[in-house]
Every structure is written in C-alpha cells, then in structure tokens.
C-alpha cells in the first residue's frame, strides 16, 4: 500500500536504528502514548532495534483499555434490553465488566453488533425505526469528530431512536497526569499522530515547556516510530524540550479545523475516570446539554452500577508506564487474553495483550538465515 509499505523498509529501518545507537550516550525512557504505536512496536519488534538502556514504555492510549468498568457495565445492561440494538467497535466486545462482557450478552441473545463506523450505526437506526439503536462512543480525539458527526446528524435528520453511550477521553490531561505523578519515569513522549491530525499540537507546547520534556508527534509505521525515537533522543541528548512533528505528511500544527468545530458543537470537556488510573480532571468529553436527548445514559434508567473490585492486576502502573506487562506476576499465567484480569490484556492494542501475543517467551534460539536444516535441532 502506498504510504504504508515504503515505511516498512528493513534497510531504512536498520539505518535509523544505527543512527539512534550512534547518538544515544545515556539511558533514556520514552513513552509512546498511543496503543496503535504500541501494537506496531511489538508487532514489528521495533524495540529490538534500539540500543540497550533506551526504554520504550507503553502509555494509556488505548480507549478500549481505559474505559471505566462502570461504563462497560452500563453498556452491558443497555445491550441486554430487548428493545435495543447495541452497536460497538469490534474490540470493545471483549472488555470485561464486573461480571461479563458484551460478547457474553450476545451469546445470551442480546442484539450486539460490530460496526466499522458510527455512521453505520446511524444508518441502522434509520432502517430499524422500531428499535433503539445505541452506539458505544469510545475513543480519543481522533474518534470524537466521527462520533460527534453521528450525533449531529441524528439530531438534524430527526433520527430519534439513535443514542450514544459516551466514553470519550482526551490525551493531554493524561500526559500531564503521568508527568505529575511522583513515580514518573517518562523523559520524553512520542505523541499520537492521529490524535494530532485532528487537534494539532499547540496543546502540547505548554506541556513540553512546563515539564521540560521533548514531545515528538509520531506516525504509526516502523520508520515513523524509529524516526520519532531518533528525534526524541536527539532532544534529550541536547537538553532540549520542544514539540517536533515527525508525522508532517498528516499532521498540521493547527490540526483539522472542521473536525474540531464538530467536536465543539456536540461535546464539552468533562472529568473522566480512566480504568486502572482513576479520575483525571478535564480528561474527557460529554454531550452538550442540547444533545442530551441522544444520551443513552439519560434514555435508559440504569440500576445501581456495580463497583469494581481489587485484584492483583497492575493495569494502573502499566498504563502510567511505571511497569512493563512482564513485571506483573499474573501475566501469562492467571491473566491471558482468554481470561483477562484487566483491560490491557483485552484489546489487541493493550500493552499486555500485545506482549502476550508477540512476546510471551522471547525467542532466544535463532536459526542461521539460510540452510538452517543442518545446524538446528541441537538440544537446548
């Protein structure tokens, strides 16, 4: 694919990796905020190319992982109603609530459907006027314009049987909360390219200044990520703390004005609880009062929501970059994608699931590149 394959070139990747090795003189810890980048790093083994001492930690940028359990429970309760068709992005279906997940609702007869776009859910509501169609509006700034548009059009096209369960979160408050944490070990950030495609990166400039951290707006392909790391290390080594844009083919400083306007029209900033992290002031989006009639939480009276219980899951420390998935005693043993203890093991973007899938036991035995048949088979 154009704008994809050329950024997966192994020679170029090796070249950037060598350059990173050349400029790195001290140990540094860099966080990639975005779950999509975590996925790419683990899938392509990008961290294997980095010099020792340069650590990538995985941030809270997976909407599936940070949606609070109370909202998952609300989704499960709404989806269980006979009059409801519940629509969601695919990987939300596997996130455990307090007692079950949306796939289990589907298994016991609930009408739960996967959609590709919120507009697909809106179209379904138009086709099924006798049903209530509820869309689980999760996501970061990237997804907010799409979800806002669905609500906007529902209201203006009079699609009254369409509502949304909103679980929107915002990136900069989370970054600021990570940096303010007493246990913080993050010295530089790769900021999420697609979030910035919508919002631009002016919001990051005060963060970089205030906390003295370099922030590099970074894309999602291996070469993007490696170049993002290179730029970040270069700043760290030179003692600079600026916002840089590696992903200029997609991201402009001011972002996407039309998308921002739609988000502002439909949503307002609100406090939000992050699963595994806790409450972060001003870190979410909620529907504005004039769109309240499309708010699923107002439309469907819910029972008292169950409170989450403590387990040995260390999701909070993992999402804040304090620990790696393999530091968790439950990892791969009591916590697996089939039986997740916490959300990062659920989403394929979650750091734990990514580690589980690609990294359960590090490959220690390597074949020679060619003619491996004769030399292997040696007992280990």
């Amino acid at each position: 694919m154009r704008f994809v394959d050329e950024y997966r070139d192994s020679d170029a990747a090796a070249e950037v990796a060598t350059a990173i090795g050349r400029i790195t003189t001290k140990p540094w810890t860099i966080m990639e905020v975005c779950g999509g980048q975590t996925h790419a790093i683990v899938r392509f083994g990008i961290d294997q190319l980095l010099p020792k001492g340069l650590t990538l930690v995985h941030g809270p940028g997976c909407p599936v992982c940070v949606t609070p359990i109370e909202l998952i429970d609300a989704a499960i309760e709404i989806a269980s109603r006979d009059d409801v068709i519940f629509c969601s992005f695919g990987d939300m279906l596997r996130v455990p609530g307090s007692s079950r997940d949306l796939l289990a609702v589907k298994a016991s007869g609930g009408d739960v459907r996967i959609v590709y776009s919120p507009l697909d859910a809106l179209a379904l509501a138009k086709r099924q006027p006798a049903k209530q169609v509820v869309f689980f509006a999760v996501g970061f700034e990237t997804t907010a314009p799409a979800n806002a548009m669905a609500v906007y059009r529902a209201r203006h096209e009079g699609v009254d049987n369409f509502s949304v369960l909103v679980a929107h979160v915002l990136v900069p408050p989370a970054m600021s909360s990570i940096l303010a944490s007493p246990n913080n070990r993050v010295q530089g950030f790769l900021a999420a390219g697609h979030v910035c495609a919508v919002m631009g990166y002016t919001e990051y400039e005060p963060l970089a200044q205030c906390f003295r951290v370099p922030i590099v707006v970074t894309g999602f392909e291996p070469l993007d990520i490696l170049q993002g790391v290179y730029l970040c290390v270069k700043q760290l080594e030179n003692g600079r703390a600026e916002v840089e844009n590696q992903y200029a083919r997609t991201v402009r400083r001011e972002g996407n004005a039309q998308a921002q306007a739609m988000v502002l029209e439909v949503f307002e900033v609100a406090g939000r609880t992050w699963r595994g992290i806790g409450d972060i002031p001003g870190s979410g989006l909620a529907l504005r009062p004039r769109y309240a009639s499309h708010d699923a939480l107002q439309r469907f009276p819910l029972q008292q929501l169950a409170q989450s219980r403590d387990t040995e899951c260390i999701a909070g420390e993992i999402l804040l970059g304090g620990k790696n998935p393999t530091d968790c005693p439950a990892f791969g043993a009591r916590c697996t994608p089939e039986h997740p203890l916490g959300a990062p093991m659920v989403s394929s973007e979650g750091a734990c699931a990514a580690y589980y899938r690609y990294r359960r036991s590090p490959p220690t035995h390597y074949l020679p590149r060619k003619g491996g048949g004769e030399t292997n088979g040696a007992p280990r």
Binding site: R43, A315, R334
Partner: protein, 351 residues
C-alpha cells in the same frame, strides 16, 4: 463530576471464567482448542482421535480409510466466490486430502431455519452438486431437519466424508522433523476477507473472491510424484498462524517463518490494514501448508506450481528444532516475534 486531585486506584475486575459457550469458542483459536481438549477429547479419548489430524485414518478389511466430518456455518450464506454449499463440499474434501486420501463419498445434513426460501436452498444444493462433481466425489446420503424461526442462521450444513488413503507413509503432525521445509499452496486470506466484505456493518467493495477449492487433486499429484510428505494442514479458521501453532504443539517442534515470504495479495493487505486484522490469522478455504523434508522441497514446490491450485505456492519457513512448541516469525524489518495462536475471533480494531 468534580473529582479529587489525582486519585490513583489500581482496581481491575475479577477474572471471568466462561460458564457458557461464546462465539469465540468456535473461532479456531485458543478458546476452541481448550474446549476441544477439556470437553471433547477428555470424553472421547481413543488412539484415532489422539492423532488430532483433520481426518482419522483406520485400516478396515485391508483398506486404509480416511474419515472426517465438518459443519458449516457462514454469514452471509452467499459471498464473493462461493456459498455455504461449496464450502461444505470443499471443506470436507480437503480434510480427507490432508490425510493423503482420495475422497470418494460424502454425506450432507441440512439444518434449515423455518422460513428459508426454497429457492435459496435449491441454489445452495445445486452449487454443492457442481462442487462435488469438480472434486470427484458423490454425495450419497443425507438428512434434513427444520428448526423454529430464530433458532438457526438460515441454514447450517454438515458433511462427512470417506476416502481411500493413497499416501505410502502416514501424513501426520507426528512425522514433522527439524529441517522440514514449510510450503503454502498459494496466497492467503482471500476467503476471510471476501466473506467479511459481504458482512453487514463492515461491507466494502472488492473484486476479491473466496479461495475455496477442492485440494485433493493437488495433494494426489504430490503423492504421485513420489514427494515425501510429512504433514499437511488446510488453513481454515484461525489462518496460517493457528495451523502452524497446532502443528508445532502436536509435533513438539519449533517453527520459524519469514513474513516477507508469505504470499498475500494487495487487496487482502488493504482490507487487513483497514480492519486492523493480521492476515496471518485470516481464514482460507482452499489453501494448505505442507511439511516436506528438505531433500524433497524443490520437487514438492515444482509439482505444486505445475498444478492450477498450487500456482502461487511458496516456501515460507522451516521447522527449526524439537521441543519448545513455538512459532517464530521474522518481520518485514528483520526482527523476530512469537506468532501466537489467536484468542477467539479477530475483531475489527478501531484503534
């Protein structure tokens, strides 16, 4: 909401154990394997089922018989390049072929949801006839049941098949050896993507068609050529990754493949990027992986390439050593990672 400043809680839910069967239990991944181990194998245990092959092979009155069964559930019933009927014939034919057998007879059972148009059923049955002619098998017995409206997804089909084993040596995971070359018979992922393109909520336009095909003639050509075949596995649900993991586990070997050598068409790649899928886990219905000794690899490849269903055959990797049943894949940028078995169905990622 006006939360207190930065209250960090580390709460997570208690684990959910599955007291009911989920869709993911049928997804060809780890959950399904656990269900098979815990529920079916533990109850049915016998030497034939223990081989865990696509078909059971037994000697009856001197004849080496291969026997298999499979049920077909697909949504939608008709998709680009095929329908449920074609799958029901080819899938069972392929399971027999994977044991090195020439498929001879099939049975066909239909579980029909009340209200299914007879025209739909007729279309499916006609395409089963065409597919069985093409595969050189006859459908010789069958059964029909109708269930209440809402209790079935239109139509479910079960087919069983018997065949005569033509391979001189057994073809089974237990014969896989370090050094074996691993070939795939063509480009991967077209079936899964073609079905996905027609699924409500995810539709997209594509000229891709399912790869569904009867593989017996290709396998028999390999056997006839004298190529020694250690193991064959058709790459259905769960895709290449799940099949390789099954073999690694059953044979007790470690497998190494190179992602760059796995043939995948651009359209399949495009759809996978769009939905957040990994093509190595996407379903096929007319593709298999062959494990052959290094000495026979070139001959096997040439025979495959000379056959219309193996024209896109490619060497994708090797069996590296015994013990430590893992599959390791080299990425496009030259790094390595574990290629795990899928945990349930692949769901489209937003993110």
């Amino acid at each position: 909401m006006s939360p207190p400043k930065q209250s960090i809680s580390l709460s997570c839910p208690v684990p959910i154990t599955h007291s009911h069967v989920l869709l993911a239990h049928g997804g060809g991944g780890r959950l399904m394997h656990r269900l098979i181990e815990d529920v079916f194998l533990s109850a049915f245990r016998n030497p034939l089922i223990e081989t865990r092959h696509d078909a059971a092979v037994a000697v009856l009155s001197g004849a080496r018989l291969a026997f298999t069964t499979d049920s077909y559930v697909v949504n939608p019933l008709f998709f680009p390049g095929g329908d449920i009927g074609v799958l029901a014939v080819n899938g069972t034919v392929n399971d027999l072929a994977m044991a090195g057998a020439r498929p001879i007879y099939l049975s066909a059972s239909f579980i029909i949801e009340e209200g299914l148009p007879v025209e739909t059923l007729t279309r499916v049955v006609r395409s089963m006839r065409t597919a069985s002619d093409e595969a050189g098998v006859q459908i010789v017995t069958g059964d029909t049941k109708v269930v209440d409206r809402g209790k079935g997804d239109g139509l479910f089909i079960n087919t069983s098949g018997v065949g005569l084993v033509e391979a001189r040596h057994p073809i089974a995971p237990t014969r896989v050896r370090p050094g074996d070359a691993i070939l795939v018979s063509g480009d991967l992922g077209r079936h899964g993507i073609a079905v996905m393109s027609a699924r409500e909520g995810l539709e997209f336009e594509t000229t891709l068609e399912s790869d569904t095909a009867p593989l017996a003639s290709l396998v028999l050509a390999m056997i006839d050529s004298g190529v020694e075949i250690h193991c064959l596995r058709d790459l259905t649900r769960g895709g290449l990754a799940s099949a390789l993991n099954e073999i690694a586990e059953a044979a007790g070997v470690s497998i190494e493949i190179d992602e760059r050598c796995v043939p995948i068409r651009d359209q399949v790649r495009g759809a996978c990027e769009l939905l957040g899928f990994d093509p190595l886990y996407v379903a096929n219905e007319g593709r298999f992986a062959a494990f052959v000794p290094e000495a026979d690899f070139e001959r096997a490849r040439d025979v495959m390439k000379a056959h219309p269903l193996g024209a896109g055959a490619a060497l994708i990797g090797r069996v590296s050593h015994t013990g430590d049943p893992t599959v390791v894949v080299s990425s496009p940028i030259g790094t390595r990672r574990i290629l795990d078995m899928l945990s349930g169905e692949q769901l489209p990622r937003i993110c």
